[in-house]
Every structure is written in structure tokens, then in C-alpha cells.
Amino acid sequence: MPLTDLANPSRFLAFVDAVLPWLAAATLLAFALGIGQVYLSPDDYQQGATVKIMFLHVPAAWLGLFAWVLMSVAALGTLVWRHPVADVAAKAAAPIGAAFTLMCLLTGSLWGRPMWGTYWVWDARLTSVLVLFLMYLGVIALWRTIEDPTRAARIVAVLTLVGAINIPIIKFSVDWWNTLHQPASVLRLGGSTIHPTILVPLLIMIAAFTLLFLTLHLAAMRNEILRRRLRTMLLMHADAAAGA
């Protein structure tokens, strides 16, 4: 099915209804497999069992970034093609992205307490994720302030794209400002530095969380489309009542 077909909200709803149960099942399966693998994975010789927090922390960080990328692509769809489902995709992704970013912050600080001796340090990565979280909240606030959904979509799309340009700049500036977090270790030139007994469960957990994100996102998009239909029906009803 080409992407243009999905621009029709009714076809999109039919598509969601067909896909969602399978996606939810795949998510459950991936989590079952992932959590089992995490349970079997060895403790770190220095960090002990706290290393397991990473299996939540890393996927959350990945999805926090992924949701903004998805919102930016959707923003292009809104501004360039006026794709109606793109508006919905962007709006549905914002709270989920914010939630994962918050989860990344919370699991990070729970890990930081025993490891670094403090819940929070003004380290570069923590700070950039905090800024990302604040920007998500700004986007959500802007969505809520503008009543007309299509106009809100276009204005938020501009903010999302400005954010997409600025997030790397903020990241770079904050890195320059202060750094303590360990450098990238999963994806880097010369191969991963993580031992396979940890890396395999981590990758499964990342896949499981990504599936969870897609499930939640599609469900949220469906709800948003239904909410908009309800809004239109209410407006028409009010119009009819006023006209009569």
C-alpha cells in the first residue's frame, strides 16, 4: 500500500486496525525474549546488578531521539505535502517521545546515585537530554494552545524543524561545555566495545522498546483521528443547533 493511500484517514484507520494486534503481539514477544535475556545476562564485575538499568536506559534514550526524528519527518509531510495523517503522527509522537525522554532521565539518575554518588550531575549528555525533554514540553504546550488542529500542526511543524536543526547544535555546545558521561560504545567505528553477553540482550530490548513505541504511536494516532472526528461532529451539531 503506497503512503499516499494512508493519507485518507479512513483507510489509515483500517490499516491501524489490521496491524495493531500483530504489532502488540510482536511487542509482547520481544519483551518476553528481551527480559529473559536480560535476566540471564551476567552482572558487571564493578557495577553489579545496577548495570541492568542500562537495558531500560539505552532504549529510552534512543526512542527519545527517534520520536523527534519522526516528528521532523512528519513536520515535513505537514508543511510540504499537507499530508493530514502527518499532522496526527506528529501530535501523537510528542507525548510518547517526552515520556521516553523522561524515562531516560529517571533511569539515568537512579543508576547515577549508586555509581556516581549523586542523582544528578551537570554532565553534557544528561544536560542535553534534559534540554530535549524541555523542548518536548514546549512542543506539547504549543499543540495545546492552538485550538484549530490543522493550524496548530503547521505552526508546531515549524518549531519541530527549528528544533531538529538546533538539537545537534545544542548537543555540540553542551559537549563542549562539560563532559563526564562515557563516550558512545554501541555504535562506533572499529566495532562495539560491549561484550556480546550484554550487547545481545541490549539490542533485543532496543527492538522491543521500538516495537512498543510503534504500537503506542499507532494507537495514539488512531485516538487522535477519532478525537478530531468527534470535534468536527460536535462543531457541526452546534452549527445545526444554532441554524435551527
Partner: protein, 222 residues
């Protein structure tokens, strides 16, 4: 060109004549800086150490102050419609408005910074460094703020939301502004490195700001 000059002159006149816009910003800047010693104590050594940071924060907040009126005022009196319909590209018109805003609020802050530096026990070299970084960095704040002003123009109460949207985007400017000022005062990084990046950030904002603001206005007002 004459149209842009007319927009520039009009905004400057409005800023100077209506409610003393430029002076209000400087006054706010002065009050923020005055409050800091009350909060942290009259320790001159400490004040000298954090002086550049205080001046930068004050300038950042003072720049925000007038931003919500930057475009909203034109929308209320209808001149925004004229600007939208004018043959002049909207991007350039908005750039002219932002320039006028900077000249009437940013530049006075730069001029006032050395005086406030005295209050914070900054030595002349440090004061000069802070003023120079403010001169290079405050245009970035205005042009980033222009985006926020365009995004929130149609909202009934955009002022606070504007600050929430704009402040995270100004973090890099703040980081490199303070870093450049500190580099000039205590080192060890050479002044040129952060200062060049600060100038680059300003140039990027001048390019991105008017375009993003123009898109937001065209998309948002219909």
C-alpha cells in the same frame, strides 16, 4: 530597499517613543544585576568570578522581555497584513524588524554592560570582553526570538509560552558567550575559539530566524 528602511525606521521610532521600550530593557537588566548580590551576598571576589554569567543571563532575560510584542503589535493594528501583502519578501521584512528590535533593545544592553560590570567588580579587560561577547551574541538571541514571536503571534497569551519555546534554543549562545568572556578573563582556552563559534551561531540564527519566522507566519495566519 526603501520599504525595508521604512520598516526599520518605523519600528525604531515605535520602540523609542512608545513606553520607552529601549530604556525599559536596560532598566530591567540593571534590576536583575542589582538583585544578584542580594541573593548571593556582597562578596566582591565571587561577584567578579560569576560577573560575566550574570551579565549574560540578565541580557538574555531582558531580550526576551519585549519579544512578544515584536510581531503581535503589528498584528493587532493591522500592519502585519500590509507587510504580508507587500512586494518585499516577508523574510527580509522580518529581518528588518528583528534588526530594529536588536538596535532598540540589544544594543542598549551592550552599551550598559560596562557600567554594570563596574557594579560586579569586573576589571576593565573583563568588562570589555563581556561587552564584546554581548555585542556578538545578542543578535542571535533576537533572531532566535523572532522565530518564537512568529510562532506565538496568534495566541491570546503567547508571552510565557514564547519564553518556554525560545529559551532552550538560546542555550548554545549562552554557553559560548559566557565561555568566550571567561576565556578572555581567566583562560585557559584562547578567546578566539569560543568567540568564533559565538559569531557563527549569530550568523546561523540570522539566516534561519527570518526564514522560519516567515514560514510560521504564512502557515499560521489564515
Amino acid at each position: 530597499m526603501t520599504a525595508l528602511a521604512a520598516i526599520l525606521m518605523r519600528d525604531m521610532r515605535l520602540a523609542v517613543r512608545v513606553g520607552g521600550g529601549a530604556l525599559i530593557g536596560v532598566l530591567f537588566f540593571l534590576i536583575v544585576v542589582t538583585l544578584v548580590p542580594f541573593a548571593i551576598g556582597p562578596d566582591l571576589v565571587l561577584l567578579a568570578r560569576i560577573g560575566p554569567a550574570i551579565l549574560w543571563l540578565g541580557a538574555l532575560l531582558a531580550t526576551l522581555l519585549a519579544l512578544d510584542r515584536l510581531i503581535a503589535m503589528d498584528q493587532e493594528d493591522g500592519s502585519l497584513d500590509l507587510i504580508l501583502m507587500a512586494p518585499v519578501p516577508l523574510e527580509l521584512a522580518l529581518a528588518a524588524k528583528a534588526l530594529a528590535h536588536w538596535l532598540s533593545t540589544g544594543l542598549p544592553l551592550v552599551v550598559a554592560a560596562p557600567l554594570l560590570g563596574l557594579l560586579l567588580n569586573l576589571d576593565p579587560a573583563a568588562t570589555g570582553a563581556v561587552a564584546l561577547t554581548l555585542a556578538a551574541g545578542t543578535p542571535a538571541l533576537t533572531f532566535i526570538g523572532l522565530i518564537g514571536a512568529a510562532l506565538t503571534v496568534a495566541l491570546r497569551r503567547g508571552g510565557l509560552l514564547l519564553a518556554i519555546l525560545v529559551l532552550p534554543l538560546t542555550i548554545p549562545v549562552l554557553i559560548f558567550g559566557v565561555a568566550a568572556a571567561n576565556a578572555a578573563i581567566v583562560g585557559p582556552v584562547p578567546f578566539g575559539t569560543p568567540f568564533t563559534i559565538l559569531c557563527a551561531l549569530t550568523l546561523i540564527s540570522i539566516v534561519i530566524g527570518p526564514f522560519a519566522a516567515a514560514v510560521a507566519l504564512r502557515q499560521g495566519l489564515d
